[in-house]
Symmetry: C2
């Protein structure tokens, strides 16, 4: 990373709180921050359906503090945010289907707890710098491609509605209460430590699990075009967003290398794996209702404002992910 000295200067010795820090992106961020010399505290609920996994801290576990706590547990929040310099706020319910079958839980985590975190910051640590993990899901079915930040927000599921509220609270608290928060709207993020047990984070997880286990994987539809961000690139965006003053009160898309269809992605995975089988099937009716079709993000705004660019091409990110799960799958399935 060319920006390593800048990041070291920003984060060495600083106190950083990561909510959802045992999850896929949160733990990768924790690993980067530990390497930069930051004093990292993690909050994670370790709810089995969500992304938290203690294995994600392998090699750094002794250098971070972990609180197993739920962000819905408000009374604990003031103590957690006090004294921190940064908060990377990644705790969330990510499954679109779960948000439809259990909408109140999605609301309590993605909307209500977010407001509680911000209130805790406003009252107990108004000088803290906040980066919030938002999602492309808030756009819904695109009117045009690539989707930039001015695209209307028209979510197709409960998760999208609650994530809009969560993001909006962050930007409002910046504008009205002087908290310094930035939101990153993530697309499919891929890499080592992603959830592969099920499709609650991304369908690519179960594809990779099945491939590594030598089983056929299922492609639903297949002609949809999607974009993918490598987890290290996403982590760099979080580090940049918190380190730079330019993005306060703003939301930025993250993108990746040029989009591909799910068919192309499946073929590429099979090729990189040196073999494998997939079956194409119709979209299940209950998922079709909340599917967003083609999606890829225009990430020129964060390039312009913060100098972020995705560095990792699709082949590289998939190859590294496959390689990771060839030895690590037993800890993740």
């Amino acid at each position: 990373m060319t920006t390593a000295p800048f990041f070291r200067k920003t984060y060495a010795g600083r106190r950083v709180l990561i909510t959802g820090g045992l999850g896929f992106i949160g733990s990768t961020l924790a690993r980067a921050l530990v390497a930069l010399g930051a004093r990292v505290t993690i909050v994670d609920s370790l709810i089995p359906e969500y992304g938290g996994n203690r294995r994600n801290l392998a090699g750094i576990a002794s250098r971070v503090r972990v609180h197993v706590a739920d962000v819905r547990d408000w009374p604990r929040l003031p103590r957690l945010v006090r004294g921190q310099d940064f908060i990377f706020n990644l705790a969330g319910q990510t499954s679109h289907m779960d948000s439809m079958t259990d909408p109140q839980t999605d609301l309590d985590i993605n909307c209500r707890a977010q407001l509680a975190i911000l209130e805790a910051c406003r009252i107990h640590n108004p000088g803290i710098r906040i980066v919030f993990a938002s999602t492309r899901q808030i756009y819904g079915r695109p009117d045009y491609l690539p989707v930039d930040e001015r695209h209307p927000l028209r979510p197709v599921d409960v998760n999208g509605i609650n994530k809009i509220a969560g993001e909006s609270f962050h930007l409002l608290y910046s504008r009205v209460h002087g908290l310094r928060a930035t939101a990153l709207r993530l697309t499919n993020t891929i890499g080592p430590r992603m959830r592969v047990k099920d499709a609650r984070q991304t369908f690519v997880g179960v594809w990779i699990r099945d491939l590594v286990q030598g089983r056929p994987f299922e492609v639903w539809g297949g002609s949809q075009r999607r974009d993918f961000t490598y987890v290290d690139d996403a982590v760099e965006a979080f580090l940049l967003a918190a380190a730079r003053p330019e993005g306060v009160g703003e939301a930025f898309n993250l993108g990746g290398p040029p989009p591909v269809t799910l068919h192309q992605l499946a073929h590429l995975l099979v090729e990189l794996n040196g073999g494998g089988i997939f079956r194409v099937r119709e979209f299940p009716a209950d998922r079709k209702k909340i599917d967003i079709g083609d999606f890829y993000a225009d990430d020129r705004r964060i390039a312009r404002r913060l100098g972020w660019r995705p560095r990792t091409d699709l082949k590289t990110m998939l190859a590294r992910t496959l390689e990771f799960y060839r030895t690590e799958l037993k800890h993740y399935s």
Copy 2:
């Protein structure tokens, strides 16, 4: 009302639930529905800071059922929605300032309870017809005037963020779960039974109270242009929206006669009152932060789709409101 026979055919003998039904618009709607022969049930929390007032049912109290209940009390919802043909969902926290000082309460009422109401309908009464009271507050500071329904949603306070979520849940449940819901985005609504105790519903309430009491009222700023809907016109929009199939899954602005500046409004009120004094003062800093400046709605979409038009001119609505409070003020302050 030229549409009275149509409304009578739609509502006579039908079972109607009104949440927030002891409030200003809810009770006016209840009065209209009772006159049309509907079987009206009201749910209202009667929380002093909100709009509910038993006096609002004067003359019809024996002909409606009233449950003093809070929509946040989920276990009660299934019994309330079962067997109803219509639900007019007006329960809400309306104060923008209160949403900033107590954001979680605003969230619990305007966002979380709305999802609970919809879940109760989905599970216990999926055939019900729903009209939701949304607000122009969701637009924030207008990019252009008049504001139509395609204007970006960029709320300036917690109330606006939660009302977006509440409205979005209604439209999503229409699209995905087949509930039939319509949202009406209200602007300032004026008329007999409006809250005059404080500015929690609209600033016009306290102006009228002070005028009727012979005291000077305060105009903050004064050059902002705003539009006003007479309560009977708003009620007609609710009745139409529930009676017609065209608006299912859609949101419509309500508007009113041509907008005026707050100065013009103040002068008009003094003139209609046959005298009175107002003082112009600077906007208080905490309100300035969440003020939306000029606002008036483009209501051509509901005119086109449902045939609704505001019928009452500004002078008439103010004169009727003043007249009401000349005799009724003691029950409202």
